[in-house]
Amino acid sequence: MIELLSPAGDMEKLEFACLYGADAIYIGGRDYSLRANAKNFSNEEIKIAVEYVHNLGKKLYVTVNIVLHNQELDGLKEYLLYLDSIDVDGIIVSDYTIMNLHKELNLKLELHISTQASITNYETALFYKDLGAKRVVLARECSREDIKKIKEITNLDLECFIHGAMCTSISGRCVLSNYCTNRDSNRGGCAQICRWEFERIDKDGNKTTEIPFSMTPKDLNMVSNIEDMINIGVNSFKIEGRMRSIYYIATVILTYRRIIDKIVNNSLTDAYTNYCLNILNRCANRESTPQFYNKLPGKDEQYFLGRQEVSNQDFLGLVLDYKDGVATIEQRNYFKVGDIVQFFGPDTETFNYKIEEIIDENNESIDVARHPRMIVKIKINNKLNKYDMMRIKVFDF
């Protein structure tokens, strides 16, 4: 089984993840889920989400991965029974109470152990297998050899992160956020303190250097290793980012969908891989590397001074309709006549296009689409599909 697993912070993102090629989606409920400040799904929305993905032949997993305090024990059993009753395919957990309840309540949904459990060796994985786990999400600190041996010895389903932000810490082993902001990192409140700057001081509190200390990791990117990961037995290829935009989800999922399909069809080329790397790095607006897969990350896998994360303006428009050579587009960022843009979509081969004319809702020709979410029409000979996307053309394919 090869599964491309996408995050979704709300129903719209879930729909885009499905459309752009995910085989399975993971979401969080309003309680018990890390990323507590994402929009997340109500119980009723989870039910709708299950029906939606099952109708497409895909799977839905729900993160129930906070580390519980006493107060969260109330209502937990009822929540798990509810998720089971609406046919959620699996829950992703890190707390032993939930693992125990999975067995005690005889739940039919699969038990997946979260990356928060820091699984980096086969004995730990075997422990969770004995507890009833069908799948383990390995720590991002696992090397290729770690993953291979864990698979060989445990034969568990293995889920590995392949793309997105990294924790500086081993996931689950950090409470910097608790200390600095009183927000509980293991209950979804992480304030990402590891992306802040620190002073180096002596015991009297004096700065020992003017250079701020930072420990921010670059993102994870496994584009070049997907084929190898398939060969060593990884089953589920997981994208990080339940709080990311539809553009990010669509771009990343489609990129990995095409890579996996090309690997299966034996048609992946180095040139295509390089194109994908460029697209992904641009999309996240951060550099990315394979991190721990082949070596211990060093200075080149981190950021140091003065990094500003400006928001990405690449997403220009969402195709709402295409009829008789005219695309109806919802504007997402400024574009104008003469711009060279790129269209992409799940069933649309990526192509470049120079904008010749923009027609507004009053059927008047305009030079610039400057208003957020304004609806415009553009004449395009290439056929487009609903929910294809238009972005700035930066890289040729």
């Binding site: 400040n37 519980l68 459990a117 730990t124 969770y128 620190f198 001081i201 200390f213 930072s214 981190q302």
Partner: protein, 263 residues
């Protein structure tokens, strides 16, 4: 606080006799290769010591570490217990006679999960990031005595990366394996240590000894102390209730939130 229930981390072997003089007889030792963040010892150095001896095995293992740990399995039998972080330690030793103590940092935060472990092993070390009400509730509901950190420095972050080396290499400055970091917005200071196994950040010293009177002490197996560089005189003063206001009280009165807007 009964001194016979104190379990203290040893940084230098010659401290043991001095601690014995003030009534402390239970000692916790970090072990070469299998521990991180504390001064560690070879098992051979420890096996003949005349005292209660617990081992701190707090590294996250990879597969090679698992094999190496299996190789020392027999030598572990002469110790009174093992406080472990990686669940592999439990899985390897669960059928042995060794007293195992679950110390998955930051995870022992509710009585239900703690009781799960207490049903399967000797004891549990409570997490530090819980309030006095939560500690009290847990101590009322546990089915066996547990261990409470009462004084020292908490592990705040455990990274597999060599964060100090990476920084020093990037800026081409002299490498050191220990620095004090200050987060200037919140004024939190973190002692930071790096070894070949990764980097640990520690909190400032905390002291919750004054809160023990609110707890069911019958369900406390040990009061755990990590001196982290403090002298025996200072430790003794703390144990005797002096300098209470010199140290922070951790999360005793600080309920953490996780949804913005929550009070």
């Amino acid at each position: 606080m009964k001194k016979e229930k104190i379990l203290i981390n040893i940084e230098k072997l010659f401290d043991i006799e001095e601690y014995k003089k003030i009534g402390i007889n239970n000692f916790l030792f970090a072990v070469d290769y299998f521990s991180i963040g504390y001064n560690s010892f070879k098992l051979d150095e420890l096996k003949d010591l005349d005292c209660k001896k617990y081992l701190l095995i707090n590294r996250i293992f990879n597969n090679d570490d698992v094999e190496k740990f299996k190789n020392i399995k027999e030598e572990l039998k002469s110790f009174d217990g093992i406080i472990f972080e990686d669940i592999a330690v439990y899985n390897i030793l669960k059928n042995s006679s060794i007293n195992l103590i679950w110390n998955q940092t930051h995870f022992a935060t509710n009585y239900s999960s703690i009781n799960y472990w207490l049903n399967n092993l000797y004891s549990v070390v409570l997490s530090n990031e819980i309030t006095k009400e939560e500690v009290s509730d847990i101590l009322e509901r546990v089915n066996k005595p547990v261990i409470v950190n009462v004084f020292g420095k908490n592990i705040v972050m455990y990274s597999r990366r060599k964060l100090l080396t990476n920084f020093n290499e990037h800026f081409k400055i002299e490498n050191v394996n220990s620095v004090l970091l200050n987060e200037s917005i919140t004024n939190n200071k973190f002692d930071t240590f790096e070894s070949e196994f990764g980097t640990l950040l520690f909190s400032d010293y905390f002291n919750i000894i004054n809160y023990l009177k609110y707890f069911n002490n019958d369900n406390i197996l040990y009061y755990l102390i990590y001196p982290k560089g403090l002298s025996i005189d200072v430790i003794n003063n703390v144990i005797n209730g002096d300098n209470v206001n010199k140290y922070n009280d951790g999360f005793m009165n600080k309920k953490t939130i996780y949804k913005l807007g929550e009070k």
